[in-house]
Symmetry: C2
Subunit: 414 residues, 2 copies
């Protein structure tokens, strides 16, 4: 293994950041919980490569935690943004591209009769919940235990600063457990507003699970029977599994969906789509934000959606994901290391057997990072349409360094 290059600039920036940002960084992009060697600060990105501030280049397997779906600096998307920005960024109302984007999503997303736009995934999930309450006149919302729906008080994975009232009407069930759904529905009684579910189970630090068809159908049936909203939270998975909404793979259609992350290839946007059942309620809702009509990002979203289709991006990501998964399986077998790869191949999760404390995952990732690939030890990863076979092979070469470390660790502890 090459000697670790000193991350001099990253360290200096971290020291400055600690003075002016609480804890040096907030939220999911705080590198403090990442393995040794992971940078906090990045200088640039191109296609499927990122460079940290010390000039180290990585094959990027996080895609900015989801937003980058066509690759960094995608020509057509950036050009669409800039063309629109030449007419101004934020006006007294929307530009025509708002209508174009809403029409595009309504055409493309199977269940959608209408769309609204926001800036954060949390905006979209919160709007779905508020809208379900407005449309049903009821209050209870069912969510799967451990599912991530955002970082605002009603759904945050942290309870710091959260009051019990923030979650007064949230009832949990277990993902892929139909009995637990029925129990939760019963608990909601005649006050059920919505059943919310992530497109698949992508909880941090555990094996991913696709929803079973029976589970998806049971949620749909339970919501329909109560005339409540079925909400698919597609913020993380949307536009990577299926352009028409991730549950099109199952043929099960929600009433409402939340989208964000990949919708505009890195430009900040979120969307709620819904069916006729909730249109009137949506028109009564007061939800808004200072920048929700900002037009260049909407132009970027239109270009992103068109490129996804024109470039057969989902098919390509799937092929690249299979190459990565197959390669990692082969390397693991060769090294005699037990690992589990779960969920859709274009959103890889790699966890090691007998690794409750994630020590193996961290050692693997640390070594792979030094060797030039940015893996994550506990969170699902993301591929983009910019990943080509040679990039995957480059990542697999870096992974070999990770497996070598695990083999040595196994010998020293075994």
């Amino acid at each position: 293994m090459k000697p670790q290059i000193e991350a001099v600039i990253d360290q200096a920036l971290r020291r400055r950041a600690h003075q002016v940002i609480p804890g040096g960084m907030w939220g999911h992009q705080n590198a403090a919980s990442l393995p040794p060697g992971y940078p906090q600060f990045f200088s640039r990105a191109e296609g499927c490569r990122v460079w940290d501030v010390d000039g180290r280049e990585y094959v990027d397997l996080m895609c900015s935690w989801g937003p980058i779906v066509l690759g960094h600096r995608h020509t057509a998307v950036d050009a669409a943004y800039q063309r629109q920005a030449a007419d101004g960024v934020c006006l007294n109302g929307p530009a025509p591209v708002l209508v174009e984007l809403a029409e595009l999503l309504v055409d493309q997303i199977a269940h959608a009769d209408w769309a609204m736009f926001q800036k954060n995934g949390s905006d979209a999930t919160t709007t779905c919940v508020t809208l379900a309450r407005a449309g049903t006149g009821r209050r209870k919302v069912l969510v799967a235990r451990g599912s991530y729906h955002g970082a605002v008080p009603w759904c945050s994975p942290s309870l710091v600063g959260v009051t019990s009232e923030d979650r007064a009407h949230v009832i949990t069930y277990d993902y892929n457990d139909i009995d637990s759904v029925h129990a939760a529905v019963q608990q909601a009684g005649n006050d059920l507003a919505a059943i919310m579910v992530t497109a698949f189970r992508h909880d941090m630090g555990r094996d991913q699970e696709m929803p079973t068809l029976a589970f998806a159908q049971a949620l749909r049936a339970a919501a329909s029977q109560a005339d409540a909203a079925l909400i698919v939270d597609d913020v993380r998975a949307g536009f990577r599994l299926h352009a028409g909404g991730s549950w099109e793979l199952l043929g099960v259609r929600p009433d409402l969906s939340s989208f964000s992350k990949a919708i505009a290839n890195g430009y900040p946007l979120a969307a709620v789509t819904g069916n006729e059942r909730f249109r009137e309620a949506a028109s009564r809702l007061y939800v808004t934000g200072s920048f929700w009509c900002e037009a260049p990002t909407m132009a970027a979203a239109v270009a992103t959606q068109r490129a996804l289709s024109a470039d057969a991006a989902i098919e390509h990501m799937t092929a690249m994901g299979q190459r990565l998964r197959g390669g990692l399986d082969r390397l693991a077998r060769q090294a005699g290391v037990g690992l589990r790869q779960t969920g859709p191949v274009q959103m890889p999760m790699v966890l090691f057997d007998d690794d409750a404390d994630n020590a193996k995952g961290r050692a693997f990732c640390s070594a792979a990072l030094q060797a030039g690939a940015y893996f994550h030890p506990r969170h699902n990863m993301f591929l983009s349409a910019a990943h080509q076979a040679e990039d995957i092979d480059r990542a697999l070469l870096a992974a070999e360094a990770g497996f070598d470390v695990l083999v040595k660790l196994g010998k020293s502890t075994g």
Copy 2:
């Protein structure tokens, strides 16, 4: 008065929008509640002028409802955005510009020892409340009756889809009424987390009020005595009244502030700033968003803040605001129309006497719009540093058309 040009393109876009967007548009940029003739869709903007989709040009007195503080398409800001965007929009973590922006705000904002960034004003106000609860271990939050702090359930001006639990710990007082503050503090008992207040009273449809010094000092004293957070919500006013936080005009310093709108001249950003008292709690908070580290917008914010200072933008907006206010007063006197202009001149509010149903305001605005100036009948307006004397005079010329209509109305009804 010129005959009204048919807004053919706007009407066609509205018809399309009604198919794919609930009610045709959401939130504060929905033109449905504006007077006759107001466009819903805009095509472009430059400096202090905006063009609707039918090609009609207006002197812009809304500045996109606040974000545009230097004028549309400001050269230095747009260049800063584009330079950063050439290195990628959204990466696996922040770029160095995050630290640069946090340092700049900590230098510039009197009470600030640290900063965190978000995308919506509502993100910033909600983060302040969650943080106050985390830092005090208490729950009650005091807000002024009728003040706008965002469009999420705990504070939305609408109750559609909102549950009583969403506001369980919100207690109201009256702006500039010290006795009502003391009563609210008493009601909170030993559970007071925060007193929140907008930088000045800028409620829709009523005369604006600056906070009295005694009121501001009373809020500060009440918060300090309870070891609770004083939160100044500077989302709407920030960077138009004072670069160091609007309450620097009073010499009263909050513990936490929320900023957004003008922070990056139209690019989507929000910020929370705080003092040492709340740094540790802020480091424990889990708040995050997919695009909160998006770097080009931060570069735009740095450039915006530098230009605000270098161009003496606040002084210029104040002078232009005085010119507008003086001109409107003169025209009103000449026309024999009673009107009230309240609040800071760079954020004008114009309301007419004996106009409970806003009919005069709407008639005035409708006529002024036809004559080429975009006024708002009920919401405070905004000036930018791009407004020059000739633009204000152009707006005043349009206002004359508005006063003419009011004079005719007065004669027909009087």
